[in-house]
């Protein structure tokens, strides 16, 4: 591996800093704040985390403390969050994660986790809200002769990480396609108030920066060579429920185009992570819309296939997260895709200024919604963290249309995704425009809470839960306040019933 991988490091001075991961890990000490690249299973370091974990385990074996604060772009993978969690050496973590190991560490109280809007991460690092960053560990596809870094499949917060950190460790991954060079658009940066200027992005494919990540080469203390793929999780094939959800959204788009309220090629599409959101994009393959555009955090299989099929003309993202099959299609078509996909730092991708200006159509998965249109994206039964809010808040609040999608029930009907009150609020009634399940869609725009409740219960809830929801709503109306009727002691009882009996249904 090494000889081939070393060719990716064209800069002489940095070539001299090539070293094994174990040696590079010695720059990481207990108590450090470390910025680690990675965004939704793409662009995370493959070797350093294991080496750091080994250092931690050795320290723990000597009864010495060893833990770091770790700030990523978004989620990473088993060989990053997973190995570090297993070594119990992540004392603080933000802003998003999805690895079962780190999730367990969070819910067991071993890792303090701050769940953040992704648009806040880079600016808060820059504004000094997290103090000093000791080290940044980032993945790249290569380093040019003049020391410029070619990012790999994800950028995330790398632009800020290399600026904020005192020392930088670069993993150069020869398994990443060398033709990624040129697909990135890196601007530095939106600055610190009061000296900020407008972000000059007026269309999803506007380039405003450089294809390279620039970093003072003196700050780069180590280059580590790797040759291993990204997480590349498989998506489930769209099932009947996902197809029904997709069909309703597409019908609505057709209706709005016909009414002249939406351009024929729609507006830039954002799609959250996951099977259902991905299925909506798959549904657009056969829909009567052309020249689509994408402006999204993570570009997944569904959007890739729209581009390859010629239905979507261009897309902007901060990371590419593909199944193994889709990765193959990406690599096979990379010459075609190079001028149709742009990767930007998350600070631009998720920026409210750009999202609102472009008029994004935001489509995000949810854990549950309540009868008044509040949405829980993060917590299982009110107390345990799932993955985090990610960029769903950045997109939802600033979208032209904001959709939340979910099958109406989970666990064979034991969990209803429509509940009297969500057990955690990530998106409030003020932000959510459409709830869509396989049962139907509720258009919440311009409606009071009680009108929303009727629509959500009757259109979106599973028939098996409708009586139970209507019963709650009717009794809450009789109890008093008629703006947002609730029974305070019963509002969260469905979740408690599930915790106790494994079923939300009243038997």
């Amino acid at each position: 591996m090494t000889a081939y991988a070393a060719e990716r490091v064209q800069h002489e001075g940095l070539r001299a800093k090539i070293m094994p991961a174990e040696q590079a890990a010695e720059f990481i000490h207990n108590g450090m704040t470390v910025a680690v690249s990675g965004f939704t299973g793409a662009g995370y370091p493959k070797a350093l985390p294991t080496a750091i974990a080994e250092r931690a385990k050795a320290a723990h074996a000597r009864s010495e403390a060893f833990a770091i604060s770790m700030i990523t772009g978004a989620s990473t993978a088993p060989e990053c969050d997973g190995v570090l969690a297993a070594a119990n050496c992540v004392s603080f973590r933000n802003p998003f994660q999805s690895d079962p190991g780190i999730r367990n560490s969070i819910n067991a109280g071993n890792t303090a986790y701050q769940d953040m809007h992704l648009s806040h991460v880079e600016q808060q690092m820059r504004q000094g809200f997290y103090g000093d960053f000791d080290v940044a560990v980032i993945e790249a596809a290569g380093i040019s002769a003049d020391g410029k870094i070619i990012p790999a499949m994800g950028i995330g917060h790398m632009n800020e990480a290399v600026k904020a950190a005192k020392k930088v460790i670069v993993e150069v991954n020869a398994a990443q396609n060398a033709k990624l060079e040129g697909m990135h658009d890196i601007a530095y940066d939106i600055g610190v108030p009061p000296h900020r200027k407008p972000i000059p992005i007026t269309g999803p494919f506007d380039r405003i920066g450089s294809p390279y990540l620039e970093c003072d080469t003196d700050k780069i203390v180590a280059v580590v060579l790797t040759e291993s793929g990204d997480r590349n999780s498989k998506f489930a094939d769209p099932d009947e429920n996902s197809k029904r959800i997709a069909a309703q959204i597409i019908d609505f788009f057709s209706h709005e185009v016909k009414a002249g309220r939406l351009p024929k090629n729609l507006l830039p599409l954002q799609s959250g992570v996951g099977n259902v959101a991905n299925a909506v994009l798959a549904g657009l393959l056969d829909a009567p819309f052309d020249d689509l555009t994408g402006y999204t955090e993570v570009l997944q299989d569904g959007m890739l296939d729209l581009i390859i099929a010629g239905k979507m003309k261009s897309a902007s993202a901060t990371a590419l997260s593909f199944s193994p099959d889709a990765l193959q299609r990406f690599n096979d078509n990379i010459e075609f895709l190079r001028d149709k996909i742009i990767l930007r730092p998350m600070e631009y991708t998720n920026n409210p200024e750009v999202i609102r200006r472009l008029g994004i159509i935001g489509m995000n998965a949810m854990i549950e919604a309540d009868i008044y249109g509040n949405v829980n994206s993060t917590h299982v039964m009110g107390t345990k963290m799932m993955n985090g809010i990610g960029g769903s808040g950045d997109f939802t609040r600033n979208a032209f249309f904001s959709f939340f999608v979910s099958p109406s029930v989970a666990k064979d009907g034991a969990i209803s995704c429509i509940v009297p009150m969500v057990s955690h609020h990530d998106h409030t009634e003020h932000d959510v425009m459409f709830i869509v399940t396989e049962q139907g869609m509720a258009d919440l725009r311009g409606k009071s809470p009680r009108r929303r409740a009727k629509l959500i219960i009757n259109n979106c809830a599973h028939p098996e839960y409708r009586d139970q929801l209507n019963d709650y709503f009717d009794r809450a109306e009789k109890a008093g306040g008629l703006h947002t009727p609730h029974l305070l002691l019963e509002a969260l009882s469905w979740h408690q019933r599930f915790v106790e009996t494994g079923d939300m249904r009243v038997k």
Copy 2:
């Protein structure tokens, strides 16, 4: 009155359309959607609402239906929302209100109310989310010879209202200071995606539009003359609690300036409506900061006095809402103030793009916060609407610093403003940076929920409630999920206890 007031209407064609309010009200029919100017007790029509209410009462006496959908800038006053609510003729209302009459109508289920982020209002009107607007009723300080409208003390959504409505009725109010002419800055408009451009505001005092509101004079079907003041509610003098809250925020500013993380003149200040937020600004009169700037929705007494005292060099708002004394000071100093205060449409004032770019310091009052940093700004005991979210969400999510302030207890200690779980979520844990009561401040930045809980309970809660809160938190930790520990059946029990016993305290 009429002769003097008529001089304010310089346009000949429009002068011919001067008519009594009763006659103008005949343009309003049952079932209409009406855009009505007004923003926080300023700039609302003084005569038409009463005339419309009379039409409604007459219709109801004939057993005929008469109700309108009414979309304002923000809150109005008794002679607008109040008289219409008393006539029971508001079937739908958004986006913000604070009149007791309309509030009662909402909570009794007679008026369907949609509580909205103010930054969403104008764009959703323009994007067709509310269907057609039949009539706009707006207040002005005058009309120029070429038919341009000089707004009065508030702009709010007037720029969109006159564009969206088929017919426009202008109330020209001779009681408004004629020297308001030139203080407004009206831009049309941020447009509809995908054709939006950056908003070219890079400083709080940038002018980007015209001092006049332009409206096709053919659409103006009536001009009504009035001569009566705005709501001009009195503020309470800052009490001991408010002064303590202000002192902590000011101390924090000093600390941040010293650390180099905040400019010496701070960043543009936003202050929510109400006594406590106003008191924080009053506290800045004696603080060691000069050349302050304001970028806020509503400019109230506190900010006015900072400008008059020479501590604040300029401020941007969408409305001026003064106590009677402050109004006098405003009128006395209007020549001095004319080039220091700018009034813009709410679409610009509240725009996330501008708020985030400028790096606003947002300071808003709250009803309650919970131990994890979620904030309720709108609901009393979970079910009844107070005033609405207003612009607090626009500012909070995009602020450089976001503060929520409240005395730690209300009703002689029977209500704690720190509770286990807020009874309604308007600002989530992801958005709230600082909670401040007279007891102390909790800096929530970069902290996990459990660390936030310790800070909020120990720093902010009233001593009489700390044991009760710690007891809840301790038992919740023992119950399971250690990311956001909660006891689901007990989380809202404090509110229920208050509903039943009039006291949140466990006796």
